[in-house]
Symmetry: C2
Subunit: 350 residues, 2 copies
Amino acid sequence: MAARPTLAGVAARAGVSSSTASLAFSGSPRVTAATRERVLAAAAELGYAGPDPIAASLRRGRSGVIGVFIGERLLYAFRDPVSVQLLDGITEVLGAHGAGLLLLAGDSGRPPLEQILRMPLDAAIFATCGLEDDPALAALQARGVPVIAVEGPDVDGVPLIDIDDRSGIAELGRHLLALGHRRVATVAMPLRLDGTRGPVGPQRRARAHYRDVRHRIEGVEDVFGPVPVVETASNAVAEGTLAGRALLDVPAARRPTAVLAQSDILAAGVLAAATELGLRVPADVSVTGFDGADLHWLAPTLLTTVVQPSEAKGRAAAAAAMALVAGEPAPDVFLPVTLRIGTTSGPPPA
Amino acid sequence: MAARPTLAGVAARAGVSSSTASLAFSGSPRVTAATRERVLAAAAELGYAGPDPIAASLRRGRSGVIGVFIGERLLYAFRDPVSVQLLDGITEVLGAHGAGLLLLAGDSGRPPLEQILRMPLDAAIFATCGLEDDPALAALQARGVPVIAVEGPDVDGVPLIDIDDRSGIAELGRHLLALGHRRVATVAMPLRLDGTRGPVGPQRRARAHYRDVRHRIEGVEDVFGPVPVVETASNAVAEGTLAGRALLDVPAARRPTAVLAQSDILAAGVLAAATELGLRVPADVSVTGFDGADLHWLAPTLLTTVVQPSEAKGRAAAAAAMALVAGEPAPDVFLPVTLRIGTTSGPPPA
DNA sequence: GACTCCAATCGAATCGATTCGATGCTCAGT
DNA sequence: ACTGAGCATCGAATCGATTCGATTGGAGTC
């Protein structure tokens, strides 16, 4: 088997220079239709399937690949419908621009740095990582790779795609307040990825690495003042159930009348815990979520929640990435959220 | 701002040749520790973050990127726990080899060919696409990119990672047969991605593009002979419900006593349909799935299903990809499945 | 002291395409 | 017929690293 044919080989066979052959393949109008035909015919004869993308990348100075960082292991990240929608939004825009999506996930929350630096990236989107001091972020910036953060680190020169977590959940809080709730608690997503779960004290809270988690706590406290916060080890239904038990399996007098979970997944877990304990929702306890994920399997229950535009977030992130690659500036984006009142919130028990 | 520093610049600054600098960065033992230090120091001064991956790729002849094709739009593909587990298995192995994962999804089932050919891939895994005549597959092969198929096209020179769909579901069938079932029906995943749903006739069936779908039908018929097959438009709970209604909302005399869905997701939909119609499972009708997906939200119901090793499938596919990239042969892999008897199968109604 | 040998380092070719400025050709205008 | 414009094509430099074979310097040996 001969060596794989190159553009030069095709050009020679077609009797043109390699520059012309290149033009022919890129569909430039600067080359005659007849010539193009000739080049394409030669390519077909030699079994040449088009210019080598790597060589083209080198010359062009870009690879057409955008990296997307997922902090967690995929298996866990994609249990979260929001991550999936986000990614879907990203692919939609990248696809339209003909760019590829390189997925970088960390086994244990930390995508291996060495590996990241070996990847030919035009830009990187930090999708669900919250660390301001992420070494990968610094390394990429050092290499001159544009970076975009989605609800992530707020760093100079990094466009931030964010949603209005705080006032969204505050609005939800006011809804509960108006219903008469005074004693509420919140179930938080992980403050850091170290497997910790349980009540959150001040020093733990100070070390929270995720902006959205912080903001969602603050939003609750904007309305109710300091509230008990129970942290979960991951954004999973079972974790929500554990936290729910911890909060609800106590004498009624000390039991919160409403539990604000920081995600719909966690809220589903809290609902399960309530059911387990024989509590009726919302008669005995109200439960709310965040995200507006499409948890069809909760039907006919409709979760009271804050709906966030996950796909729009993805689209905005990808659009920012494409802008930066093109050398244009990319502004921060701040997306609104909306309150959705379902069947899981009602007046507190008398 | 000066032009981005290059290896040559760093080498000059460190007072060594660029070949030595290259060796220093690749951690070769052929270079003295002192020299390496000097090179690294020079790099730090110049703000050089390491060799450019694209240039290195060109020289080495490989990019370190493996493409993974998802036939559907991500949003739908990742609703399926099996896809996610598969991908997780792939990332696990690729990560261990320091390779990256480029996700290629089609908006409408067909990843844009032009775009695929622009991507610097060392190999490609066809994850959930079933088409023997996929133009992308042919194009990649023409370009000399090794291809691996997961439950996908059975093409010469393409290692196939497959599971024992047929005998797995046949075993499930025998379980039902032993329970006394004689009148069964099956709910199929899409035979092609064209949005068709409803009863499947012979000519539609002949045009089925997905091996696993075909095999799972055959497995049922191995036990029961010809059975009614209802196709769904996608592998989603709501689709399972539609199909379930079609099969179950008929006079009891004509109603199947067991419905074998081709996935757990579809089975969940069928369960919902049964509940809607006031049918008890398994007293009035048995329902089974396939995959062994972790559908926690069905609890306490435990689906009778065939458990397939999705992650192992992903690992095998990735391992095959790495082997082919390294120039080694990659054999076909055929993974076993196991029957899991849950609470959704029982004797038919008297 | 001359010679061998080995380790460290260097030079130069190479990977395969893109692109800019130059060249040559044809054709229109006068 | 000569000039200039315009268009298709070509040559050569370039992108930035890797790698192989060659070279150099120094240590070890007799």
